[in-house]
Every structure is written in structure tokens, then in C-alpha cells.
């Protein structure tokens, strides 16, 4: 049961208020029609599952309904930072 800081609400809230949306920083290709099947497949289906630091999107779904990013250690489950959409992580894997 995580304790997650919502950067929009400015508060820690229980995990039950949030929903995980998987890996962050996956951009929809600007011109999908020119993507090969392989490129499109990579965009749609391929996700990292790192042991260690992972950047994820979470949604404060039962709160302010805002999406934001979380850098989480998948081994210890520590949340290292949260940052808003459009921002870049400060904590990154070496």
C-alpha cells in the first residue's frame, strides 16, 4: 500500500485513490501513418520492466483526476520523486 504524493493536490494520499498507467515518457508517434508495423508495435506493446528505478504514470483517479509521473524503485518500492506531465525526471538510473 503506497503513500503517494500528488503534485497537483500537494498532499500524500493512500494508494487506493490512484491508478497506475504503466511506463511513463512513451510518446505517441507524431506521424503514425508513416510508422512501420514494427515501429507501431513497439509503441503499442513494448514496455520496460526494470529491476530498480522505473518512471511510471499514475492517475489520481479518485482525487483530482490528474495524471503525473512517479519515479519508483521496483525492488524497494520507494517513491523517489513525483513530477508533473511534461517534466523530466531528476532521479534516473545510471
Amino acid at each position: 500500500m503506497f503513500y503517494i504524493y500528488c503534485p497537483y493536490c500537494g498532499e500524500h494520499r493512500e494508494e487506493e485513490e490512484f491508478h497506475n498507467h504503466g511506463q511513463a515518457h512513451i510518446e505517441r508517434p507524431a506521424d503514425p501513418d508513416s510508422c512501420t508495423d514494427e515501429e507501431w508495435g513497439n509503441y503499442m506493446f513494448f514496455r520496460k520492466s526494470p529491476k530498480g528505478l522505473h518512471h511510471e504514470i499514475w492517475d489520481h483517479v479518485a482525487g483530482c483526476r490528474k495524471f503525473f509521473n512517479v519515479t519508483r524503485d521496483t525492488v524497494t518500492y520507494e517513491i523517489k520523486e513525483v513530477y508533473k506531465m511534461g517534466e523530466q525526471p531528476k532521479v534516473v538510473a545510471e
Binding site: Y3, G41, D59
Partner: protein, 1007 residues
Amino acid sequence: MSQKNRLQSGGRIDRSKPLTFTYNGKQFEGFAGDTLASALLANGVDIIGRSFKYSRPRGIVAAGAEEPNAVMQLGATEATQVPNVRATQQELFSGLVSGSTNGWPSVDNDIMGVLGKVGGKMMPPGFYYKTFMYPATMWETYEKVIRKAAGLGRSPNEYDPDTYDKVNQHADLVVVGAGPAGLIAALTAARGGARVIIADEQNEFGGSLLSSKESVDGKAAGAWVASVVKELEANENVIVLPRSTVNGYHDHNFLTIHQRLTDHIADRAPNGQVRQRYHRVRSKWVVLATGAHERPLVFGNNDVPGCMVANAVSTYINRFGVVPGNELVLMTTNDNAYRTAIDWHDAGRKVQAIVDTRKNPSGALVEAARERGITVMTGSAVIDVQGSKRVSGVSVAPISEDGSKVTGSVKKLSADTVASSGGWSPVIHLSCHTGSKPVWNEDVLGFLPGKTVQKQLTAGAINGTFNTAGALEEGKKAGLEALSKLGLSAVEVDVPATTEVKESKAMALFHVPHTKPTSQAPKQFVDYQNDVTAAGIELACREGFESIEHVKRYTAMGFGTDQGKLGNINGMAVAAKVLNQTIPQTGTTIFRPNYTPITFGAIAGRDCGALFDPERYSAMHKWHLENGAKFEDVGQWKRPWYFPKAGESMQEALNRECLATRESIGILDASTLGKIDIQGKDAREFLGRVYSNAWAKLPVGKCRYGLMLKEDGMVFDDGVTSCLAENHFLMTTTSGGAATVLNWLEFYHQTEWPELEVYFTSVTDHWATMTISGPNSRKLLEELIDGDVDVSKDSFKFMDWKPMSVAGVPARVFRISFTGELSFEINVQANYGLHVWEKLFEHGAKYDLTPYGTETMHILRAEKGFIIAGQDTDGSVHPYDLGMGWAVSMNKPFSFIGKRGMQREDCVRAERKQMVGIKTIDPNVVLPEGAQAVFDPTASIPMPMVGHISSSYWSACLGRSVALGFVKGGLDKMGEKVYYPLVDGRIVEAEICSPIFLDPKGERQNV
């Protein structure tokens, strides 16, 4: 009713309050302050169960949470049955009814005993896998017999009559365990102003002090405990939780505490009291002061009743005034356990000998024992015991200094009780729950909490600090550290004085050697609950299971309800010895929540019965109830399913509802449809990106049907969206998909296209929606419209919407149709819903206005070939598969969601499964939904399957069955045959046809 093992005085029991209880159908007496275990021992009950695999008689071995054998079934009535209760943790109350869990038909005469007595060779580790798995078809039979005979407890067959609570808490500090370390930690933090919760699984605070004869602060330990508890209880910042097990330590310092409020009072919570409470606590810091469990030694026949853990014996004597036998032999690797022999001796019963595995023990307790004239046999061990239902004697032999072998001749002693101590294992369980790996400590001869990312401090025996003085010091230190971490000031706390006892060094011994090799020696049990022996672990290692995790799974060591609290480390030591490596090289041990079993009631709390899941009702729900609707669950919505009249079958009701709608007029409560209000200057652009069709030119006042796709091109929702104003739209979604769709829109807006100015608001509950459908629907609507609004064919066209006043209420009326009939969807503010609905019926009576529910809605739409997303789609069909290419606009400038996905190689190949109509050759046969299609019914099994039926109904309007289904390449196979072999052996012949069964030209809705 004699309590033959009860002492005349002493202990924390109240001899003036006798309590009567039942065990296995027999009445016994104990005293207030007893546990079920201490009361059974007081009455000389030796056998409390049969072992899981070998069905050997078993007795009580411990006095707390670590007890592996005394697992009881409680409950005076069927409804109050509780399985899996350790007798050592159950407080006695008057009228308590208990029984053995293991042993069928009885603990004294057991069916499995026959198997067990055949011997170890019959049932080696992996026995169940090896023997009972084959043939696989028999497994169910085997399982039933094994489970019944092995006895894992049973759950009640009636509803639990008690009430359970859940409570969420926030704390500065949770202190787990109220022994000396925990008490002083809590006291320190509380004095410093921290908000503290202190929880202990026992009924009384004090931990080890409850069963000790030590003095603290110059007075009896109990008096010091009482003074601390008094101060804590008086502090309004402190929550004191006795009878409360901290069962789980979860991520980000979240703890779950299982508090038992009435389990010690009665079978059922009295006077409507809450029986148990589940605390969910988010704490800034945690102090684990969870203590330690004493390890028994592993020796031959060490499971015979009468073999106990040394400290448990002391606990029964000192805390409960019960000496569980007459003649004691104590085997120990350390000084500490000498206390047990001294306690036994001082209680006036015979100590046959202390068998010390060390050559030259010399501590103060050793001297104290010798002064009492107790025989101390050094450099020796109890290699096995005699007796079956109770220990009758022991074999003692000298052993080598490293404990690896017997070095001299065996001597027999008479004894009925063997207490053993192999040292203490810190209770590190909670520290493991979040994944921290414990670390072996050679001085402690046990695992200590490993590195953790939790805000966790530890104090006392959990750190291997086994003396009271050390525990108090560490507790104070932890309390001060917590204050400092919390940003609170340090406070003065005096550590009370204790008497220091000098102890000599303990010996590292776990598995006692025998004159015979382990495989031939009498069984040496490691894990009592799962009947895992030292020989079994050796065999597992020899069979190639070298990882301790594999050994555990193969032998089932540690997989019981006790999680191997007593046995795991001994088991690792046995494996280490066979593998010729150290314990840390062999691995580590890990524990998972929950620390001890918890009732389902506590987990469920009040979230059961009617409160299990919220129910959503439309504004017209009352009317539906009054008019006999049968309901269907759609998500959390309770939707009318059909409205049977007296004496009507479901099919008769559906036939009537369908015909009434097509012949005159029917009405559907469509309020549950998801409704999302979309505004902003880029709303139109946004719609174009999330729907597969075009939205750029939809004028104000018009509605359009849209398909929503995922990036892979597959349909996931559909609905009608209307243009309310230039920058204002109302989107409808499926009833079940409303929340998902809103989340989907927000996700794309916030993460992909934040530059678009668009806002989404769920307005599902704000509107009541009633759909009137049928040739007379315009006439009915006209009667109710206030003022001059033209809803005639040409001025209110199909797919138009208009604001108007209906029955005196502002309304949005949409001329859309899901039935294929002339149809109007009237939306009014939800508060007016029932009013308008009733007005419609008032005026509709002359047209025989007929209410219908979801089932008739399904039939009417299937007759028209309209899909239901989620029924006719399953995440693997794109618009072209549905024959709905008309709803895709490939020429939109923006590459909408799903466009690229549906152009992938697999999505454009021929022979995809496509949705078609399915007409059975026999019109009276209604195919079951899910029926699999084949082209060649004579093909050998397994037949190539080419599709399935997704919707299927009896159509009263057409006088035949109608079905929608998927068939490989179906859109090019109109008129061809397809077959459906059913589970009952029938093969139904059918013809592929257009999915539009009724009014293919759509004339009925354009009137």
C-alpha cells in the same frame, strides 16, 4: 474435574474465577487468566491433535504465536465456527467450545495412523506429489480424503453473526510489542509528545516479563509494567492496543493491526459489540520490539507429547501456575534455559537431569541449578525419547564438542517431559514483509532484521539482545531516536534497574546427532505442523534440491499456518550440514504477511452483504420496483431487465414488450448510459482524434454515432455524441464503460495533447434519460411538449436533437434510435425524471405504453444488427470486422486513435473473423451465445473452429431466432452454411446472412 497439574499458588490466573470449557466434547475447568493451552495442560491433556502426514499424536510445545501443534477449531454453534486458532493464544472463557483440528475420526483413534505407522519409507518428502498426483483424474478424490483426514480446519456453513470494523489511523510512531523494550520505547516517545500506537498480541502487556521471576526497578516486574501502562493509557496521544496483532508491515510504513475485542469474552460478541477491529495504520516511524521465539532442538521422536520448548514450560509454571508433567529432563545449548529446570524444581516437581550439550557450562544459572542439587550432565544430549502418547523416558548420550556425533554409550532416564532449548530466534517477521532479507548473526546464532527502506527501528530481543537490561536500554534508545527523527525534543527517561545474570557462551547446535544415521534414526521433526523431518530435508538435498527455497517447497517446510516459526532455522541448519556449508551460505529465511492467521470477518469489516458494493439507481427506480421489474446488474447499476405481468414467464414478457414497441410504443429507462459533457474550443478536434469517424462538420443540433478504438484499432466503446453548441458536446458511452471512457479521454488529453483546450465532466447522474420507441412515439411526445415545438418528420429529423419543455420541465430530446423504430430520447434533470416518466405513462396509457428493460432492448437492437460493445466486441475486432467501415473516416487529417493499428498486417488480412447475421435453418432453435462455429461438422475432433455466436435471441417480431456471430471471412460468405456443434451433442445448421434482420432499408425510423 481435577486440574492435576495446577499449582496451589502463583501465576497471573484468578483461582477464585473458575471457568468451564469443552474440548473434544468433554468438559474441563480452568481459571480466568488461562489460555486454552494452559487450561488443557492443567488438566493433563497430552494429545491435542494428530500430525498432518504421519498422523502421530501431538501435544502442546510452545506458549505463544509460534505454537505449531495446538491449532484448534472453536465455536459452540455452526455460525460461530473459527478454524485455525492456536490454543496458546486463545484466552479461556466460560462456555468455550473447542476441538482438535487434526485427527479423523478422533485424535486417539485415527485413520491416518495406519498409514503413518507403516513408516517413513511409505511417505518421504514429495510423497503427495509422487503418489497422489497419478492418475491425475483421481486427484480430486485423493484430495478430499487427505484433507479430511489431515484436517485443516473448516469454515462455518452459516453466516457470521458478528460485526467487524475497520479503522484508518495515522501515527507518528507505532510500537510493535509491549515487552520491556517496546514499553519503554513507547513511554519515551509519548513523553516527547509523539502520537503513539502500541500494540501487543497478548491480553496483557509485559511480554517476557509476564512469565519471568525477575524484578524490575526493585519491584516485581508486573508492577513496573502496570505503572508504565498506566502512564501510557493516561496520555491522550497514545493508543494502547492489547490483544492486537500487528499482522502485516507493508510498503511506505503501512501496518495492519488485527485487534480482538471480544474473542476472550464469549463465542459471539455480546450485546452487538464489535468482535474484531482491523486497524490500517500509516505511521511515520515504527519500532519493532517483537521479541524472540525459543528454538527447540531436533532429536529422535521429539514430537511425542511431553516434548516442549524450555521457555514455554517456564511460562506455564510462572504465568499460569501449571507444571505440565512430573519428571523433567531439560536439554539445552545455553545457560538461559536453566531457568526452566529451576522453575520446575522450585514448583516442587522432579528434575531428572539437565542435559547440557556443552562441555563446561559455568554461568550463574548453572551454579544455581547445581546448588539445588539438580543433576547436570554436560557434553551430552537427549538423542531420542521413548513413548508414543506421552514421553516415558529419554536416551542420553555424550556427544562430540562440535555436536556432530555421539561419542559414548547411551543411558536411559525416566521422564515424562523433555524441555529443550537451542537458543532464541529473533521475531524478524515484520521486518521481512516488505522484502528486507534477514542477516545471519553468528553471536546471536539467529537471523537479525536486514537492511530496510522502511522508517523502522528495532529494539530488544529482535536484535538478539535477550537480557532485560539490554532490552530496556535499546527500547529507550529507539524511543529517543524516533523523537529525533520526528523532529521532537529528547526527554528524560530512567531505565529501571534489573538484576544482571552472568551467562556463559551458548553452543551452536540445532540437530542433535544419533547413534544411527539420520535416515535410520527415530524421526527427528523439524517442522511439526507439516511433518517435515531432518531425514526428509537430507533426502531433499540428496535429490538435488540445494536451494533452501526449493527444499522448503519440496518438503513443505514452513508452509503451515505457523510459517515455520519454530522450524525454519533448524531446517536450514540441517540442510547446511548436508550441503557442507554454513547457514548463511544455505540461504536466508523470509516471512510474509500475515504474522498469524486472521479472520475473513476482520478483513471484510462492514464491506459485506448490502454494503459489499455500492448500488446505483436511476431516478425512476422507485417506479420500476412498484411495477414489478426484474433487475439486472450493469456495473453497479441496477437496471430493469424485464417487466413481467402476473403469471408471465420471462419469454412471454419479452415477446409482449417487443411486439408492443414495434406495434405501438415502448419505453426504456436509459439513464445509466454514460454521459460526458465536453467543452472547449478544441472539443471538436479532440472528438475527431478519439472517434474513428469525422466530427469536423457536425452542426449544432445534430447527433452522430461514433466508434471508439484503442491504438491497436480494436473497438472498445461506442455511443452517440451530440453537438450542443459550437464548442460544446454531449458524449454518451455504454453504461458499463462510462468511467473507463472518461479516464481514456483524460489520459489522452493530459498526456498526449495538453495543448488542446478541452474539458470533460461526467454528467451521467445529472440527467434522467427515457427513450420512447415505436410508431406512436411522436404522438405521445407531442402531447407532452409545452409550447410550440415542431417535431414532425421534416423539421425534427432522424439524428437531430432539440431543447424543449416536456411535461413542464426543460428537456433535451434526441431523435436517435437503438430499436430501428421512430424513437425519441428525452433527457431531463434527474430530479424531474420520475415526474416526466409518470406523465408519459399518464398520456401513454391509450397507446398501451409498455415499459421494457435491458433484455428487450437487446432483442430489438439485435433484430437491427446493432452491436453492443463488450458483448459483440471483445477487444479483438476492429470496425471492418464488424462490417462498420462506414463509421471510419480514413481521410481525417489527424491520424485518429486506432487508425494505424487497424492497418497492421494482421488486421487487413483476408479470413479475419467478421460479424454477420446467423439464421438457423430451424427457425425455432435459439443458439446459445458462445456457441462455436465450424464449416465442416463431420471433421474429426478437434474441429477447426471458425467463429462464435456473440448475441442470440428469440425474436417475437420475426417469429424466429436471430443471432449475431463471428465467422472467418463471413462478410464474403452470405448465404453459405455454418454449423454449431453444441455441448449436448446437437449440431445446429445455420446460414450466414446480413446482420440486419428487420427493416433492412431503415424505413421504420424515418417516418
